[in-house]
Symmetry: C2
Subunit: 228 residues, 2 copies
Protein backbone atom coordinates (compact mmCIF):
# COMPACT_ATOMS: atom_id res chain seq x y z
CA UNK A 1 0.00 0.00 0.00
CA UNK A 2 0.97 3.62 -0.04
CA UNK A 3 3.72 5.10 2.02
CA UNK A 4 1.14 7.28 3.61
CA UNK A 5 -0.64 4.39 5.23
CA UNK A 6 2.57 2.74 6.32
CA UNK A 7 3.67 5.96 7.91
CA UNK A 8 0.45 6.32 9.82
CA UNK A 9 0.52 2.75 11.04
CA UNK A 10 3.94 3.29 12.47
CA UNK A 11 2.76 6.32 14.39
CA UNK A 12 -0.11 4.31 15.69
CA UNK A 13 2.21 1.64 16.96
CA UNK A 14 4.42 4.25 18.47
CA UNK A 15 1.64 5.53 20.64
CA UNK A 16 1.69 2.23 22.43
CA UNK A 17 5.03 0.65 21.86
CA UNK A 18 7.33 3.43 20.71
CA UNK A 19 10.39 1.46 19.74
CA UNK A 20 9.97 -0.20 16.42
CA UNK A 21 13.39 -1.72 16.59
CA UNK A 22 13.23 -3.34 20.00
CA UNK A 23 11.14 -6.45 19.92
CA UNK A 24 9.44 -6.01 23.23
CA UNK A 25 5.96 -7.45 23.23
CA UNK A 26 4.06 -6.04 26.13
CA UNK A 27 1.04 -8.29 25.87
CA UNK A 28 3.25 -11.33 25.71
CA UNK A 29 5.33 -10.20 28.64
CA UNK A 30 2.32 -9.64 30.81
CA UNK A 31 0.96 -13.07 29.91
CA UNK A 32 4.24 -14.64 30.94
CA UNK A 33 4.42 -12.61 34.07
CA UNK A 34 0.95 -13.70 35.01
CA UNK A 35 1.66 -17.38 34.59
CA UNK A 36 5.31 -17.74 35.51
CA UNK A 37 5.74 -15.65 38.59
CA UNK A 38 4.17 -16.74 41.83
CA UNK A 39 4.49 -13.31 43.37
CA UNK A 40 1.70 -11.79 41.36
CA UNK A 41 -1.98 -11.70 42.06
CA UNK A 42 -4.82 -11.31 39.58
CA UNK A 43 -8.14 -9.86 40.59
CA UNK A 44 -11.36 -9.03 38.78
CA UNK A 45 -13.45 -5.96 39.43
CA UNK A 46 -16.95 -4.96 38.46
CA UNK A 47 -17.63 -1.56 37.06
CA UNK A 48 -17.63 0.99 39.83
CA UNK A 49 -15.65 -1.09 42.31
CA UNK A 50 -12.63 0.31 44.07
CA UNK A 51 -9.50 -1.37 42.80
CA UNK A 52 -7.18 0.11 45.37
CA UNK A 53 -6.67 3.21 47.48
CA UNK A 54 -3.34 4.95 47.54
CA UNK A 55 -2.78 4.64 51.23
CA UNK A 56 0.14 2.82 52.76
CA UNK A 57 0.74 0.50 49.86
CA UNK A 58 4.03 2.06 49.15
CA UNK A 59 5.42 -0.57 46.84
CA UNK A 60 2.32 -1.76 45.10
CA UNK A 61 2.32 -1.81 41.34
CA UNK A 62 -0.72 -2.69 39.27
CA UNK A 63 -1.06 -3.56 35.60
CA UNK A 64 -4.33 -3.40 33.73
CA UNK A 65 -4.98 -6.75 32.04
CA UNK A 66 -8.35 -5.74 30.66
CA UNK A 67 -10.93 -3.04 31.22
CA UNK A 68 -10.43 0.56 32.26
CA UNK A 69 -9.35 2.07 35.54
CA UNK A 70 -9.57 5.70 36.62
CA UNK A 71 -7.41 7.28 39.25
CA UNK A 72 -9.46 9.85 41.09
CA UNK A 73 -8.80 12.64 43.52
CA UNK A 74 -11.40 14.48 45.55
CA UNK A 75 -10.07 17.71 46.98
CA UNK A 76 -11.41 19.26 50.17
CA UNK A 77 -14.02 21.20 48.20
CA UNK A 78 -15.40 17.97 46.87
CA UNK A 79 -14.09 18.67 43.39
CA UNK A 80 -13.40 15.47 41.55
CA UNK A 81 -10.40 15.24 39.27
CA UNK A 82 -9.53 12.31 37.10
CA UNK A 83 -5.82 12.17 37.70
CA UNK A 84 -5.20 9.23 35.44
CA UNK A 85 -7.00 6.92 33.12
CA UNK A 86 -5.53 3.48 32.55
CA UNK A 87 -6.28 0.93 29.88
CA UNK A 88 -4.74 -2.37 28.75
CA UNK A 89 -1.09 -2.80 29.74
CA UNK A 90 -0.89 0.47 31.63
CA UNK A 91 0.82 0.45 34.99
CA UNK A 92 -0.34 2.34 38.04
CA UNK A 93 -0.19 2.10 41.79
CA UNK A 94 1.01 3.87 44.88
CA UNK A 95 4.62 3.01 44.05
CA UNK A 96 4.40 5.76 41.46
CA UNK A 97 3.38 8.38 43.95
CA UNK A 98 5.50 10.28 46.41
CA UNK A 99 4.83 9.48 50.05
CA UNK A 100 2.59 11.81 51.96
CA UNK A 101 0.83 13.81 49.37
CA UNK A 102 -2.14 15.19 51.23
CA UNK A 103 -4.57 13.78 48.76
CA UNK A 104 -6.59 10.65 48.95
CA UNK A 105 -6.47 8.87 45.65
CA UNK A 106 -8.79 6.11 44.56
CA UNK A 107 -8.44 3.73 41.66
CA UNK A 108 -11.91 2.90 40.41
CA UNK A 109 -12.92 0.40 37.73
CA UNK A 110 -14.68 2.31 34.97
CA UNK A 111 -15.61 -0.94 33.30
CA UNK A 112 -15.41 -4.55 34.41
CA UNK A 113 -11.69 -5.04 34.64
CA UNK A 114 -8.92 -7.45 35.42
CA UNK A 115 -5.87 -6.22 37.24
CA UNK A 116 -2.50 -7.74 38.05
CA UNK A 117 -0.97 -6.77 41.38
CA UNK A 118 2.54 -7.19 42.60
CA UNK A 119 4.88 -5.77 45.13
CA UNK A 120 7.84 -4.05 43.63
CA UNK A 121 10.19 -4.98 46.44
CA UNK A 122 9.31 -8.60 46.53
CA UNK A 123 10.36 -8.94 42.93
CA UNK A 124 13.90 -8.12 43.81
CA UNK A 125 14.11 -10.13 46.96
CA UNK A 126 11.89 -13.09 47.63
CA UNK A 127 10.87 -13.65 44.07
CA UNK A 128 14.42 -14.22 42.96
CA UNK A 129 14.49 -17.65 44.45
CA UNK A 130 11.13 -18.81 43.25
CA UNK A 131 10.62 -17.42 39.84
CA UNK A 132 12.51 -18.42 36.71
CA UNK A 133 10.95 -15.70 34.77
CA UNK A 134 12.69 -13.16 36.93
CA UNK A 135 15.69 -12.67 34.68
CA UNK A 136 13.89 -10.89 31.89
CA UNK A 137 11.53 -9.20 34.24
CA UNK A 138 13.35 -6.01 35.07
CA UNK A 139 14.18 -5.43 31.45
CA UNK A 140 10.52 -5.64 30.56
CA UNK A 141 9.55 -3.54 33.50
CA UNK A 142 11.70 -0.71 32.32
CA UNK A 143 9.93 -0.85 28.96
CA UNK A 144 6.63 -0.71 30.76
CA UNK A 145 7.76 2.22 32.85
CA UNK A 146 9.03 3.99 29.77
CA UNK A 147 5.61 3.71 28.16
CA UNK A 148 4.07 5.08 31.27
CA UNK A 149 6.40 8.06 31.20
CA UNK A 150 5.39 8.74 27.64
CA UNK A 151 1.73 8.74 28.46
CA UNK A 152 2.29 10.98 31.48
CA UNK A 153 4.16 13.42 29.30
CA UNK A 154 1.21 13.45 26.95
CA UNK A 155 -1.06 14.23 29.84
CA UNK A 156 1.18 17.11 30.85
CA UNK A 157 1.07 18.42 27.31
CA UNK A 158 -2.71 18.58 27.59
CA UNK A 159 -2.78 20.14 31.00
CA UNK A 160 -0.30 22.88 30.19
CA UNK A 161 -2.48 24.19 27.38
CA UNK A 162 -3.53 27.65 28.43
CA UNK A 163 -7.26 27.52 27.80
CA UNK A 164 -10.15 25.11 27.48
CA UNK A 165 -10.15 25.24 23.71
CA UNK A 166 -6.49 24.26 23.63
CA UNK A 167 -7.10 21.34 25.95
CA UNK A 168 -10.08 20.06 24.01
CA UNK A 169 -8.36 20.29 20.67
CA UNK A 170 -5.16 18.66 21.90
CA UNK A 171 -7.15 15.82 23.34
CA UNK A 172 -9.18 15.34 20.17
CA UNK A 173 -6.00 15.47 18.12
CA UNK A 174 -4.64 12.68 20.26
CA UNK A 175 -7.67 10.51 19.80
CA UNK A 176 -7.63 11.19 16.10
CA UNK A 177 -4.02 10.08 15.87
CA UNK A 178 -4.46 6.96 17.89
CA UNK A 179 -7.54 5.84 15.96
CA UNK A 180 -6.17 6.99 12.59
CA UNK A 181 -9.46 8.69 11.86
CA UNK A 182 -10.77 12.23 11.91
CA UNK A 183 -13.94 10.77 13.39
CA UNK A 184 -13.83 8.95 16.69
CA UNK A 185 -15.88 8.02 19.73
CA UNK A 186 -15.01 9.67 23.02
CA UNK A 187 -13.99 7.14 25.67
CA UNK A 188 -15.46 9.44 28.32
CA UNK A 189 -18.80 10.96 29.08
CA UNK A 190 -18.65 14.75 28.78
CA UNK A 191 -18.91 14.97 32.53
CA UNK A 192 -15.81 12.86 32.93
CA UNK A 193 -13.98 14.50 30.06
CA UNK A 194 -14.28 17.78 31.92
CA UNK A 195 -12.84 16.14 35.02
CA UNK A 196 -10.02 14.69 32.99
CA UNK A 197 -9.13 18.01 31.39
CA UNK A 198 -9.52 19.60 34.80
CA UNK A 199 -12.07 22.22 33.73
CA UNK A 200 -15.66 23.07 34.53
CA UNK A 201 -18.14 20.98 32.62
CA UNK A 202 -20.47 23.78 31.58
CA UNK A 203 -17.55 25.91 30.44
CA UNK A 204 -16.33 22.98 28.39
CA UNK A 205 -19.75 22.44 26.83
CA UNK A 206 -19.89 26.11 25.94
CA UNK A 207 -16.50 25.89 24.29
CA UNK A 208 -17.53 22.76 22.40
CA UNK A 209 -20.53 24.63 21.06
CA UNK A 210 -18.31 27.47 19.93
CA UNK A 211 -16.02 25.01 18.17
CA UNK A 212 -19.04 23.59 16.37
CA UNK A 213 -20.41 27.03 15.45
CA UNK A 214 -17.03 28.10 14.13
CA UNK A 215 -16.85 24.99 12.00
CA UNK A 216 -13.84 23.33 13.63
CA UNK A 217 -15.60 20.17 14.69
CA UNK A 218 -18.79 18.21 14.25
CA UNK A 219 -20.41 16.43 17.15
CA UNK A 220 -23.05 13.76 17.29
CA UNK A 221 -23.57 12.35 20.75
CA UNK A 222 -20.15 11.20 21.80
CA UNK A 223 -18.90 10.93 18.22
CA UNK A 224 -16.59 13.75 17.21
CA UNK A 225 -15.34 14.69 13.75
CA UNK A 226 -12.47 17.08 13.19
CA UNK A 227 -13.13 19.35 10.20
CA UNK A 228 -9.89 21.28 9.93
Amino acid sequence: MSNFVTHLSQDFNNLGVIFMDTNFDKKNFIENFKHNCNRVQIKKFLKGETVTTYIEKRNQICIVISGEIDLIRYDFNGNKTIIGHFVDDDVFGEAFYPANTNNELFAIARKNSEVLFFNYDSLFTKCKRNCDFHKTLTNSLSELFLDQIISLNLRIELLTKRNIRGKILSYFELLSKSTLHRTFILPYSYTDLADYLSVDRSAMMRELKLLIDEGFIKKNGNKITLLY
Copy 2:
Protein backbone atom coordinates in the same frame (compact mmCIF):
# COMPACT_ATOMS: atom_id res chain seq x y z
CA MET B 1 15.17 13.41 68.46
CA SER B 2 11.43 13.38 68.25
CA ASN B 3 9.39 11.07 66.13
CA PHE B 4 8.27 14.12 64.26
CA VAL B 5 11.70 14.83 62.87
CA THR B 6 12.34 11.22 61.99
CA HIS B 7 9.07 11.10 60.20
CA LEU B 8 9.93 14.16 58.16
CA SER B 9 13.34 12.85 57.21
CA GLN B 10 11.78 9.75 55.80
CA ASP B 11 9.48 11.82 53.65
CA PHE B 12 12.41 13.75 52.41
CA ASN B 13 14.17 10.62 51.33
CA ASN B 14 11.07 9.39 49.69
CA LEU B 15 10.90 12.39 47.45
CA GLY B 16 14.09 11.31 45.83
CA VAL B 17 14.53 7.63 46.41
CA ILE B 18 11.15 6.36 47.51
CA PHE B 19 12.08 2.85 48.52
CA MET B 20 13.81 2.81 51.84
CA ASP B 21 14.17 -0.91 51.67
CA THR B 22 15.77 -1.26 48.27
CA ASN B 23 19.36 -0.24 48.36
CA PHE B 24 19.51 1.49 45.03
CA ASP B 25 22.02 4.34 45.03
CA LYS B 26 21.29 6.55 42.09
CA LYS B 27 24.38 8.72 42.33
CA ASN B 28 26.56 5.68 42.53
CA PHE B 29 24.83 4.01 39.63
CA ILE B 30 25.28 7.01 37.39
CA GLU B 31 28.96 7.24 38.32
CA ASN B 32 29.43 3.62 37.33
CA PHE B 33 27.45 4.04 34.20
CA LYS B 34 29.60 6.99 33.24
CA HIS B 35 32.85 5.15 33.69
CA ASN B 36 32.05 1.58 32.83
CA CYS B 37 29.94 1.78 29.73
CA ASN B 38 31.47 2.86 26.48
CA ARG B 39 28.11 3.62 24.91
CA VAL B 40 27.56 6.79 26.88
CA GLN B 41 28.64 10.32 26.13
CA ILE B 42 29.15 13.15 28.57
CA LYS B 43 28.84 16.76 27.50
CA LYS B 44 29.05 20.09 29.27
CA PHE B 45 26.78 23.02 28.58
CA LEU B 46 26.94 26.67 29.52
CA LYS B 47 23.90 28.41 30.89
CA GLY B 48 21.49 29.18 28.08
CA GLU B 49 22.86 26.65 25.63
CA THR B 50 20.60 24.18 23.90
CA VAL B 51 21.21 20.69 25.20
CA THR B 52 19.08 18.92 22.64
CA THR B 53 16.00 19.39 20.52
CA TYR B 54 13.29 16.76 20.50
CA ILE B 55 13.43 16.08 16.81
CA GLU B 56 14.26 12.72 15.33
CA LYS B 57 16.25 11.45 18.26
CA ARG B 58 13.72 8.83 18.99
CA ASN B 59 15.77 6.72 21.32
CA GLN B 60 17.88 9.30 23.03
CA ILE B 61 17.90 9.34 26.78
CA CYS B 62 19.69 11.96 28.84
CA ILE B 63 20.59 12.06 32.51
CA VAL B 64 21.47 15.25 34.35
CA ILE B 65 24.85 14.84 36.06
CA SER B 66 24.94 18.36 37.40
CA GLY B 67 23.19 21.65 36.81
CA GLU B 68 19.62 22.29 35.74
CA ILE B 69 17.85 21.70 32.45
CA ASP B 70 14.49 23.04 31.34
CA LEU B 71 12.32 21.45 28.72
CA ILE B 72 10.54 24.21 26.85
CA ARG B 73 7.68 24.41 24.42
CA TYR B 74 6.74 27.42 22.35
CA ASP B 75 3.27 27.17 20.92
CA PHE B 76 2.21 28.91 17.71
CA ASN B 77 1.15 32.01 19.65
CA GLY B 78 4.66 32.31 21.00
CA ASN B 79 3.57 31.31 24.49
CA LYS B 80 6.40 29.70 26.35
CA THR B 81 5.68 26.79 28.66
CA ILE B 82 8.19 25.07 30.83
CA ILE B 83 7.17 21.48 30.26
CA GLY B 84 9.77 20.01 32.52
CA HIS B 85 12.53 21.03 34.86
CA PHE B 86 15.30 18.55 35.47
CA VAL B 87 17.96 18.49 38.16
CA ASP B 88 20.59 16.01 39.34
CA ASP B 89 19.87 12.41 38.37
CA ASP B 90 16.71 13.22 36.46
CA VAL B 91 16.20 11.55 33.11
CA PHE B 92 14.79 13.20 30.03
CA GLY B 93 14.98 12.93 26.27
CA GLU B 94 12.91 12.32 23.20
CA ALA B 95 12.60 8.64 24.08
CA PHE B 96 10.06 9.75 26.66
CA TYR B 97 7.88 11.51 24.13
CA PRO B 98 5.41 10.06 21.70
CA ALA B 99 6.36 10.34 18.05
CA ASN B 100 4.80 13.14 16.08
CA THR B 101 3.54 15.56 18.63
CA ASN B 102 3.20 18.79 16.73
CA ASN B 103 5.28 20.69 19.20
CA GLU B 104 8.89 21.63 19.02
CA LEU B 105 10.53 20.99 22.31
CA PHE B 106 13.88 22.34 23.41
CA ALA B 107 16.02 21.29 26.31
CA ILE B 108 17.89 24.35 27.54
CA ALA B 109 20.56 24.55 30.24
CA ARG B 110 19.29 26.84 32.97
CA LYS B 111 22.67 26.72 34.66
CA ASN B 112 26.03 25.40 33.58
CA SER B 113 25.35 21.71 33.37
CA GLU B 114 26.78 18.31 32.65
CA VAL B 115 24.64 15.78 30.83
CA LEU B 116 25.03 12.10 30.08
CA PHE B 117 23.64 10.89 26.75
CA PHE B 118 22.93 7.41 25.57
CA ASN B 119 20.87 5.61 23.06
CA TYR B 120 18.28 3.36 24.60
CA ASP B 121 18.46 0.80 21.82
CA SER B 122 22.19 0.49 21.79
CA LEU B 123 22.13 -0.57 25.40
CA PHE B 124 20.24 -3.68 24.54
CA THR B 125 22.11 -4.54 21.39
CA LYS B 126 25.63 -3.38 20.71
CA CYS B 127 26.48 -2.54 24.27
CA LYS B 128 25.93 -6.07 25.41
CA ARG B 129 29.18 -7.23 23.93
CA ASN B 130 31.33 -4.37 25.16
CA CYS B 131 30.16 -3.42 28.55
CA ASP B 132 30.47 -5.50 31.70
CA PHE B 133 28.35 -3.16 33.59
CA HIS B 134 25.41 -4.03 31.44
CA LYS B 135 23.98 -6.69 33.71
CA THR B 136 22.83 -4.39 36.46
CA LEU B 137 21.99 -1.64 34.07
CA THR B 138 18.39 -2.39 33.23
CA ASN B 139 17.56 -2.95 36.82
CA SER B 140 18.90 0.47 37.69
CA LEU B 141 17.22 2.01 34.71
CA SER B 142 13.86 0.87 35.89
CA GLU B 143 14.52 2.54 39.23
CA LEU B 144 15.45 5.70 37.42
CA PHE B 145 12.31 5.52 35.33
CA LEU B 146 10.23 4.91 38.39
CA ASP B 147 11.57 8.07 39.99
CA GLN B 148 10.76 9.94 36.83
CA ILE B 149 7.20 8.66 36.90
CA ILE B 150 6.85 9.87 40.45
CA SER B 151 8.00 13.33 39.60
CA LEU B 152 5.71 13.48 36.57
CA ASN B 153 2.80 12.47 38.74
CA LEU B 154 3.67 15.29 41.09
CA ARG B 155 3.68 17.68 38.19
CA ILE B 156 0.25 16.45 37.14
CA GLU B 157 -0.99 16.96 40.68
CA LEU B 158 0.05 20.60 40.41
CA LEU B 159 -1.39 21.16 36.98
CA THR B 160 -4.78 19.66 37.78
CA LYS B 161 -5.36 22.13 40.60
CA ARG B 162 -8.31 24.21 39.54
CA ASN B 163 -7.00 27.71 40.17
CA ILE B 164 -3.80 29.69 40.50
CA ARG B 165 -3.93 29.73 44.27
CA GLY B 166 -4.14 25.97 44.34
CA LYS B 167 -1.19 25.61 42.05
CA ILE B 168 0.96 28.05 43.98
CA LEU B 169 0.20 26.49 47.32
CA SER B 170 0.75 22.94 46.10
CA TYR B 171 4.06 23.93 44.66
CA PHE B 172 5.15 25.71 47.83
CA GLU B 173 4.04 22.75 49.89
CA LEU B 174 6.24 20.57 47.77
CA LEU B 175 9.28 22.76 48.23
CA SER B 176 8.60 22.94 51.92
CA LYS B 177 8.50 19.18 52.17
CA SER B 178 11.61 18.60 50.16
CA THR B 179 13.63 21.17 52.11
CA LEU B 180 12.10 20.25 55.48
CA HIS B 181 11.55 23.92 56.19
CA ARG B 182 8.59 26.25 56.12
CA THR B 183 10.98 28.81 54.63
CA PHE B 184 12.69 28.12 51.34
CA ILE B 185 14.21 29.75 48.28
CA LEU B 186 12.39 29.44 44.99
CA PRO B 187 14.46 27.68 42.34
CA TYR B 188 12.73 29.78 39.68
CA SER B 189 12.34 33.44 38.93
CA TYR B 190 8.71 34.48 39.22
CA THR B 191 8.58 34.81 35.47
CA ASP B 192 9.61 31.20 35.05
CA LEU B 193 7.48 29.97 37.91
CA ALA B 194 4.45 31.27 36.04
CA ASP B 195 5.58 29.41 32.94
CA TYR B 196 6.06 26.27 34.99
CA LEU B 197 2.62 26.46 36.58
CA SER B 198 1.24 27.34 33.17
CA VAL B 199 -0.45 30.57 34.24
CA ASP B 200 -0.16 34.26 33.45
CA ARG B 201 2.61 35.96 35.36
CA SER B 202 0.67 39.07 36.41
CA ALA B 203 -2.25 36.95 37.54
CA MET B 204 0.14 34.86 39.58
CA MET B 205 1.72 37.94 41.16
CA ARG B 206 -1.71 39.24 42.03
CA GLU B 207 -2.56 35.94 43.69
CA LEU B 208 0.73 35.95 45.61
CA LYS B 209 -0.09 39.39 46.93
CA LEU B 210 -3.50 38.18 48.06
CA LEU B 211 -1.88 35.22 49.82
CA ILE B 212 0.42 37.65 51.63
CA ASP B 213 -2.42 40.04 52.54
CA GLU B 214 -4.50 37.18 53.86
CA GLY B 215 -1.61 36.03 56.00
CA PHE B 216 -0.97 32.68 54.38
CA ILE B 217 2.58 33.32 53.31
CA LYS B 218 5.47 35.73 53.76
CA LYS B 219 7.66 36.69 50.86
CA ASN B 220 11.03 38.36 50.72
CA GLY B 221 12.53 38.39 47.26
CA ASN B 222 12.56 34.79 46.20
CA LYS B 223 12.39 33.54 49.78
CA ILE B 224 9.00 32.23 50.80
CA THR B 225 7.70 31.35 54.26
CA LEU B 226 4.53 29.39 54.82
CA LEU B 227 2.58 30.74 57.79
CA TYR B 228 -0.26 28.25 58.08
